[in-house]
């Protein structure tokens, strides 16, 4: 595995399942990492998604990476090299926040909004960070692990209440 030019020293490469390289980027060098990969031929940002590791804090992270509750996972695709890479960045615990990739890949606009909507992870520099799927006045972020699954209350029974 060769390191692309301009890759920040704090970024650690690991081997993922299926031969995909998984980079663990330091939050401060997150955009620089993506920039280095973009310059290396990863023309398309396929996906941005978030994960809330509240109930699974001891998952695998590369050595030296401080695991936080929230993580943002970026999937990049190279059309010229027929390759995928994944970048994982630790977004923080209480007020998760990472930089936006909008200036590098404009197509991340909607996915980043979705991550914000579902997890409350803030993206610095995003042009229009608003809810995208939930109503505007919704409280809470549904895909967080401490956000309950809705239930329909059962009548005539000592059933659990809604949420």
């Amino acid at each position: 595995m060769t390191t692309p030019d301009g890759m920040p020293a704090s970024t650690i490469a690991t081997d993922g399942i299926g031969g995909t390289t998984v980079y663990f980027a330091h939050p401060d060098d997150y955009v620089a990492t993506i920039q280095a990969l973009k310059d290396d031929g990863f023309e398309m940002c396929v996906d941005v998604c978030g994960v809330d590791y509240l109930e699974h804090p001891d998952r695998f992270v590369a050595e030296g990476v401080v695991a936080t509750r929230f993580e943002v996972v970026v999937n990049l695709l190279s059309l010229s090299k027929h390759q995928r890479v994944r970048v994982r960045v630790q977004a923080g615990n209480d007020e998760p926040r990472v930089a936006s990739l909008f200036s590098l890949y404009p197509g991340t606009e909607a996915p980043e909004r979705e991550v914000f909507d579902m997890f409350g992870i803030l993206f610095d520099g995003h042009p229009d960070l608003t809810r995208i799927l939930m109503p505007e006045e919704w409280e809470g972020h549904p895909l967080r692990k401490d956000y309950g699954v809705g239930r329909v209350p059962v009548q005539f029974k000592e059933g659990p209440g809604p949420r």
């Binding site: 993922g16 399942i17 299926g18 995909t20 023309e43 398309m44 940002c45 396929v46 996906d47 998604c49 994960v51 809330d52 109930e55 699974h56 998952r59 695998f60 996972v73 999937n75 695709l77 059309l79 027929h82 995928r84 994944r86 909008f102 890949y105 404009p106 197509g107 991340t108 606009e109 909607a110 996915p111 979705e114 579902m118 042009p127 229009d128 608003t130 809810r131 995208i132 799927l133 939930m134 109503p135 505007e136 006045e137 549904p142 895909l143 699954v149 809705g150």
Partner: protein, 449 residues
Amino acid sequence: MTDQIRNVDRLDILAAETHEGAQELRPRSETAADDLGKEMGAVLRLQGLNLDPASIDVEGPEDERMIINMGPSHPSTHGVLRLMLELDGEYVLRTKPVIGYLHTGMEKTAETLSYVQGGTNVTRMDYLSPIGNETVFALAVESLLGISVPERATWIRMMMNELNRISSHLVWMATNGMDLGSSSMMIYGLRERELILAFYEKTAGLRMNLNYVRPGGVAADLPDGWEDDIAALCDTIHQRTYEYDELLTGQPIFRQRMIGVAPITAEEALALGLTGPLLRSTGVAWDLRRSMPYLAYDQVEFDVIVGTYGDNFDRYAIRLNEIRESVRIIRQCLEKMPSGDYRTQDAKVTPPPRARIGESMEALIHHFKLFTEGFHVPAGETYVGIESPRGEIGCYLVSDGGPKPYRMHTRAPSFTNLQAIPLLMRGGTMSDTVTVISTVDPVMGEVDR
């Protein structure tokens, strides 16, 4: 309460009823200059955010512009897509898609279902391409499990995926025809799709939302006499594509509304992360079946259909020809279908045959464990992407070692492709919005999940 709402002096109460917050398109006088630039369409976002909106805009006084709302329940928005359009007469200046009307929290639901049950959930996302959703989920689970499926299962999956591509494209042809006033195409498209749904029903028991492709293989072997069914189906559909060709391609009204309308360049498509026919229409020969083969696509012959101009007509032509290519793949599947098992014999993943349960204690235990607790998947994370009829559908799966996914995220092609709409519509006419939505082909079940 009713009196309050009826009171015209209190319009704010009325507005609160349909409030979408920042997703709403505001009048220009209430929009900051850089926001306006962004709303003009993604192409401006590409060129930088500092663009002066006044310098590129169609000139005209504010009171001649009109913001109208289209959808969410509009027959040509293909579901519950809502568009806010700023119009200058007949011309569209700005567009803002508003989504979320079909949001049902399927990614959250996936965390409460075991891997055995998960298929029933994902199959409902892109309801026109259920097999694609199931396949990507099953491949992701299998990649975490580190198991391989028998060759026959792979070929059955591939054949079903291609049938699915045909049925999805047929619905597209039908609805697109309807949008352009060709109700004959609507009837023909749905008629031919019925042949495929009938085959689904024969194989899996259901016409839609099959839960047929499961981790470890497929739910059932192909029915007796499937070769004849498939051969007849291929012949019929292949011949009918030429009828559609005759019906639509040369028709003057159809051509006028498709050719040169809503073009997009390869650079814009890549920057926006567009995949599928939308990307291929710009001349980028990117099809995951060919470029990063999965299943057994490296063992069949087919052509990747590529357009030139990136306009509506190219997207139509690509879909029409992809039906023919899919028929070609299915015929090869018919020829090369290997014999053997249709699911892995790993008892931890595959339920035992019904007959074994009565005579074997192990089979009974495995059956009980599989359908109550489910199987455990080693901790890890993986991403698998395959080519759905709409583009790259991906599944990002995180396991914590338990029987349920810790996190299941679907990269929905329609969701990303929808970002092209402001760009495609800009400067077009109001009537073109209908064809643009149609050729982008969003499935709202997948957009909102």
